[in-house]
Structures are given as structure tokens and as C-alpha cells.
């Protein structure tokens, strides 16, 4: 039985909204509002949601790259919120992050080799010669050549830069990688190469991923389990096959129907959503989705449904299912 690597309990991240000369705190952007889930060793949890749902904030907050407002994050059973600087720094070797924009995720003034090897330098791993060797090894692992180590980011393409982001994350042999929309900014053919790389690395190294994306097709390709996020909360969580075949939540159903299929014969029954995504500063009362839900009922605006397990490994937060 594989152990739970990461457990998130009721995580919240609010960004204060300030007004005026003395920065009065008037409201909060509730980017992440009570999220709970877990990731086991070697598995990929896909986190899907549209822009503004808080998935990026979640990724960063659970790595303590941004300090959480409330909640617990347990890594191998230990609460990371209680750790001091030294423990935190050690932990950085076990969890890494890969970003969306290949352009801004690399320091333009550092060579590729330096960027990849930075982690080794920070943690004092090996001699300079050993670090160089490791950098070359990593470059080859992600499908580039050792000669790229002396290049600068502006000399490489988007796909290559993204590979470097992955190489950098691998440098310290992490157990968990948070991949924040790693392929959204790439062309289709490059996307396929990177997705393959991600899946291969998981098989080779036993990595666990929190794979964040807005494209359900991409999520479906790489994930073992999928969590659907809307306006700061997880509204459905299930095994991939289960979620894709049997979506319970109306939002999930809408998302599924919105995937553009490269098949002109398929006349999908479209679930059209009305209106726009509400502001995370003043989320709707009760179930946050009720303002756009095609199956809204009276109770939806009054009471927030809890994330409840309905079938085996399939939880939903929706009043339709009691």
C-alpha cells in the first residue's frame, strides 16, 4: 500500500484587497477557500479548472511558496506549516514546481547550465565538477544536448525552455512535482513531446505530480485521479476513468462537453453555461456554482454542499446528490 505523500486539509489562501493611502484592508480575494485532498507516491493528480478558479494559487500555496492563510499541509505525515527555515529548505529538495510560461520561468541572465545547477549549488551538493556532470546528465534526460548548458534562454525555443524547467526541477531528485500549466503555452506538436516526457519521467523515477491545467483533454491524458476546481473549491474528485465516464457535478459535465473534439461527426450534447465566472472577492452564497448552474435548486443558494464521497473514490459537492 503506497503511502500518502501529501495531504492537504482545508487549505485557504486569501489575498487582501486594500484601499486608500494607508492601505485599509477592505476585502479578500478568496483564491483558495477550503481545499482538501491527498496525493500518494508515484501518482498523478490532475487539477482542472478555468482561469480564476485558484488552481495556480493552490499549487504555490501548498509548496509554501506563498504563505497559506489557513489549513494544514502534511508531507509524509508532518505538518509543513510548523517547520522552521532549515527544515523547509531541506524539504525543497523533495518538492519542486514547473511553471507555465517558459519565457519568464528562466533567469534571462543566467546560462542554462547555471539555472539547472542552481539547486545543487544552494544545497551544497557535490564539487563543481560533479555538478557539471549532473547538469549534463539532466539535459540528456530531458531530451536536450549537453552543449546547451552554455546557452542563454533567449537562444532557445519555447519547447526547449520548458524542458529546461523540468530539468531544473529534477536536479534535486524530488518526490513530488507541481506542474502549473506546463504545456498551455506550447504548440500542439511540442505539447505532445513534453507530455510524453512528463509521463516517461514518472515511470522512470516514480515521481508524483500535481498536474494543473485548464484543458481536460490534457488532464485526461496524464492523470490517475482528477480534481475539478471552481472558484476556490474542489467540487468533484474521482479516478480519471470514473470522472470522465460518469461526471456528477453539472460543472464537470459542462467542462466535458466543452472539450473541442477533433471529430467533425460528433455532435456532442452541449451543456451551455450562462453568465460569467463570479468574482472571487464576493463569491456567491451557498454553492458557488449556483449562479450558472443549469440544474439549480432553491437550496443551492442557501447552503454550501460539502465534498462527499458518493461512489468508491468519487466525491462531489452538490445538492443534487444526497
Amino acid at each position: 500500500m503506497k503511502q500518502k505523500l501529501l495531504e492537504v486539509e482545508n487549505l485557504k489562501k486569501y489575498y487582501p484587497v486594500t484601499v486608500g493611502l494607508l492601505s485599509r484592508h477592505v476585502a479578500d480575494v478568496k483564491a483558495v477557500d477550503g481545499v482538501s485532498f491527498y496525493i500518494t507516491e508515484g501518482e498523478t493528480l490532475g487539477l482542472v479548472g478555468e482561469s480564476g478558479c485558484g488552481k495556480s494559487s493552490l499549487g504555490r500555496t501548498l509548496l509554501r511558496l506563498e504563505e497559506p492563510t489557513a489549513g494544514r499541509v502534511l508531507y509524509k505525515g508532518s505538518d509543513i506549516m510548523r517547520w522552521d527555515k532549515k527544515q523547509l529548505k531541506e524539504w525543497r529538495k523533495e518538492t519542486q514546481i514547473v511553471f507555465q510560461d517558459p519565457q519568464s520561468s528562466l533567469d534571462p541572465r543566467m546560462t542554462i547550465g547555471d539555472s539547472i545547477g542552481e539547486a545543487l549549488l544552494i544545497h551544497g551538493v557535490g564539487t563543481e565538477k560533479e555538478r557539471l556532470e549532473r547538469v549534463e546528465e539532466l539535459l540528456t534526460r530531458v531530451g536536450l544536448e549537453p552543449r546547451h548548458a552554455t546557452r542563454y534562454p533567449h537562444e532557445l525555443s519555447g519547447g526547449q525552455k520548458q524542458r529546461i524547467g523540468i530539468a531544473r526541477a529534477l536536479a534535486v531528485n524530488p518526490k513530488l512535482i507541481v506542474a502549473d500549466e506546463p504545456v498551455s503555452a506550447l504548440d500542439v506538436s511540442v505539447q505532445a513531446q513534453i507530455l510524453n516526457l512528463v509521463m516517461d519521467l514518472q515511470q522512470e523515477l516514480g515521481l508524483a505530480y500535481l498536474f494543473i491545467a485548464h484543458d481536460l483533454a490534457v488532464i485526461g491524458q496524464v492523470s490517475d485521479r482528477i480534481a475539478v476546481m471552481y472558484l476556490g473549491q474542489i467540487i468533484e474528485l474521482a479516478d480519471k476513468a470514473e470522472l470522465l465516464n460518469n461526471p456528477f457535478h453539472p460543472y464537470t459535465q459542462a467542462l466535458l462537453s466543452a472539450i473541442p473534439l477533433p471529430d467533425p461527426h460528433h455532435k456532442r450534447k452541449k451543456v451551455s453555461l450562462t453568465g460569467e465566472v463570479p468574482s472571487p472577492v464576493t463569491p456567491p452564497s451557498g454553492c458557488r456554482f449556483h449562479t450558472r448552474c443549469p440544474k439549480v435548486m432553491k437550496i443551492c443558494s442557501e447552503e454550501t454542499p460539502a465534498l462527499r464521497p458518493l461512489a468508491k473514490d468519487h466525491s462531489v459537492s452538490c445538492h443534487l446528490y444526497k
Binding site: 478555468e50 506538436s189 505532445a192 510524453n196 490534457v218 491524458q221 477533433p262 453555461l273
Partner: protein, 322 residues
């Protein structure tokens, strides 16, 4: 059959840069019919945006220049007509929607003013009449609470809303041809669907011809009548949407379709196209896809393949079929 209203013949648009001549559009020919939606598909750097900009002579010159070819709009060559005539056509008969709604709207004017400017210019209406027309247009594209929202500034709108504003502005003069450059790329899946519905509506109710540029094959399957696949500044394949998806002929088209992640391809590795997108400076004598093609033959390297008909309207530029 011959209700072609826009015919492009052997268009060549080159960019003269310090590093060499970039042949962005290298002898491209195709026709657009009344009431059809024609999709230009390809990845970044394939020349599709340059083609679209060339139609309305919007190429930045220097360093770009349309060196050769004809663009016949109802028989009239847009490349050789007077600037005055071109201005009459732009926005009026042929309208364009650009890729990034963020930067296409002027941030210092409110949205209503920007649309009204278009309306007044081309329809020569007085202020009150223009106002009414603008309200009507904005309602047609599904913007809620129009009279209030008209006075808002672009930054107060979400991505999907901004795109609707762009479409409203483009439709103000009921153009015969609408050129849309990646209009849904930056949008979430559910919003994408809504915008595509607007386009479908346009086609059906007003018989507008749409030249839709995108790299997303999934979107294409939903909206296209015919598809042109571009690669390296040249046309690789042309056909109806069913031709292309059911019987893709060009190795690039096949590669593109095969590397799409899909929820039906559970967890299998994708088959990406090996190699990288080519530089358009000094393109080779032969087929530009040659270095990445799995099925190349000696002749592919030497001579550029001409388009040959495979069936009906389905043409390919590939020696495998000639």
C-alpha cells in the same frame, strides 16, 4: 459552386530582416466562398497570421513586404487598389478580429465609444443612431446589461467579454468576410464554446464568410466547412472538414491529428512529430516538411511538391500522392 468571393493567388509575403529574408508566406493560393467558414490551421510560425494580415495589407512594412501575388475580392485586386479604396473595404466589407483582445482594445476609451467610432465611420450615422446601433450590436453578441456596460473600460471586462466586444465592433458594418485570428485561443473552454456559437450564428443567419485562423484542431472540427493546413509558410493540405479528419493525407496533418491528447486515449503515450518547427529564413528547395517526415523520398528533398487533387476538393502538396 463558383461563389468564391475572395481568391488568393500565389501570395508571397516576405520579411526582410537583419538575419535574412523570412519567407513567411511562400506562394499560397486558395479561395473563400460566400457563407462558408474556412479554417487556416497550423502551428506558430507557419504563416497563417501573415496570410491574414496580407489580405487587408496590414503587414508591417518595413520589414515585411507583399512581394507577389493577387488578392481578388469580387474580382478587384486588393494588393493593387488605391489606399482610399482599401480603407473603404477594411472594416466595412472585410473585417478582422485580432488575436489578443487585451491589446486590441484601446485602454483609455470606453467600450461603447470604440464601437461607435467604427459605426460612425463606416455607416455615417449621427450620434444617436450610432448609439442605438451599438447597443443592438452588443446585445447580439451576448453582452449583458449593455447600456450600463457600454460606459465601462476594457480592463473592466473579462477575456471572453472583450472578445465579444471585438466581434461586435467587427460586425458593425455587416461585413461580407470576417477574418478571425485565433479569437478563442486565450479563452477558457466553456467561454470558447460560447464564442464559437456566435460565429456559427453569424454564418447561418447572415451568410457571412469566415476565415478562421487557429492552431487548435478541436475548435476547427466544430466550426469549419473547409480546412487549409499550413506548414512553413506553405499549404500542405486543403479539404472539407470531413476529408481532413477522416482521411488526412499529408504526413504533417496526420502527425498533427495523432499528437492531440484526448480523453479517449487513456494514458497511452502520444506520438509527437519529431524535430522542431523550421526557420523560414532560406527555406529549402524541396518540401519544407522533409526533415521531419517519416515517409520522405529522395525527390522530396530536391523539389517543392505541387498541390494535387486526391478527391473532390481534397488537395495535398506531397509526392506520396503524385
Amino acid at each position: 459552386m463558383n461563389n468564391t468571393i475572395l481568391q488568393i493567388n500565389q501570395l508571397k509575403t516576405y520579411f526582410f530582416t537583419r538575419n535574412g529574408v523570412v519567407k513567411a508566406v511562400d506562394a499560397v493560393s486558395f479561395g473563400l466562398r460566400k457563407g462558408e467558414s474556412l479554417c487556416l490551421v497550423g502551428e506558430s510560425g507557419c504563416g497563417k497570421t501573415a496570410t491574414a494580415l496580407s489580405i487587408l495589407r496590414l503587414i508591417d512594412s518595413p520589414p515585411g513586404e507583399i512581394v507577389d501575388g493577387e488578392i481578388l475580392y469580387r474580382g478587384e485586386d486588393l494588393l493593387r487598389c488605391s489606399s482610399k479604396r482599401l480603407r473603404q473595404i477594411r472594416g466595412n466589407r472585410i473585417a478582422m478580429i485580432f488575436q489578443d483582445p487585451q491589446s486590441s482594445l484601446n485602454p483609455v476609451f470606453n467600450v461603447g465609444d470604440q464601437i461607435m467610432e467604427q459605426v460612425k465611420l463606416h455607416l455615417r450615422l449621427g450620434h444617436q443612431a450610432a448609439l442605438e446601433k451599438t447597443v443592438q450590436l452588443m446585445e447580439q453578441v451576448g453582452i449583458p446589461r449593455v447600456r450600463e456596460r457600454m460606459k465601462d473600460y476594457p480592463h473592466q471586462f473579462s477575456g471572453g467579454m472583450k472578445q465579444r466586444v471585438m466581434i461586435a465592433a467587427a460586425l458593425s458594418c455587416n461585413p461580407e468576410i470576417l477574418i478571425a485570428d485565433e479569437p478563442t485561443t486565450a479563452l477558457d473552454a466553456t467561454i470558447k464554446m460560447q464564442i464559437l456559437d456566435i460565429f456559427q450564428d453569424l454564418k447561418q443567419k447572415r451568410n457571412t464568410s469566415i476565415l478562421f485562423i487557429t492552431h487548435d484542431l478541436g475548435t476547427v472540427a466544430g466550426i469549419a466547412d473547409r480546412i487549409i493546413v499550413m506548414y512553413g509558410g506553405r499549404i500542405a493540405e486543403v479539404g472539407t472538414v470531413f476529408d481532413i479528419f477522416d482521411q488526412p493525407k499529408h504526413p504533417y496533418t496526420l502527425g498533427l491529428i495523432n499528437c492531440l491528447p484526448s480523453i479517449s486515449k487513456r494514458g497511452e503515450r502520444l506520438t509527437p512529430i519529431p524535430g522542431m518547427i523550421p526557420s523560414l529564413i532560406n527555406p529549402p528547395e524541396g518540401c519544407i516538411f522533409y526533415p521531419r517526415c517519416q515517409r520522405h523520398m529522395p525527390i522530396c528533398e530536391k523539389q517543392r511538391p505541387k498541390e494535387v487533387a486526391v478527391s473532390g476538393e481534397h488537395t495535398v502538396a506531397c509526392y506520396l500522392y503524385s
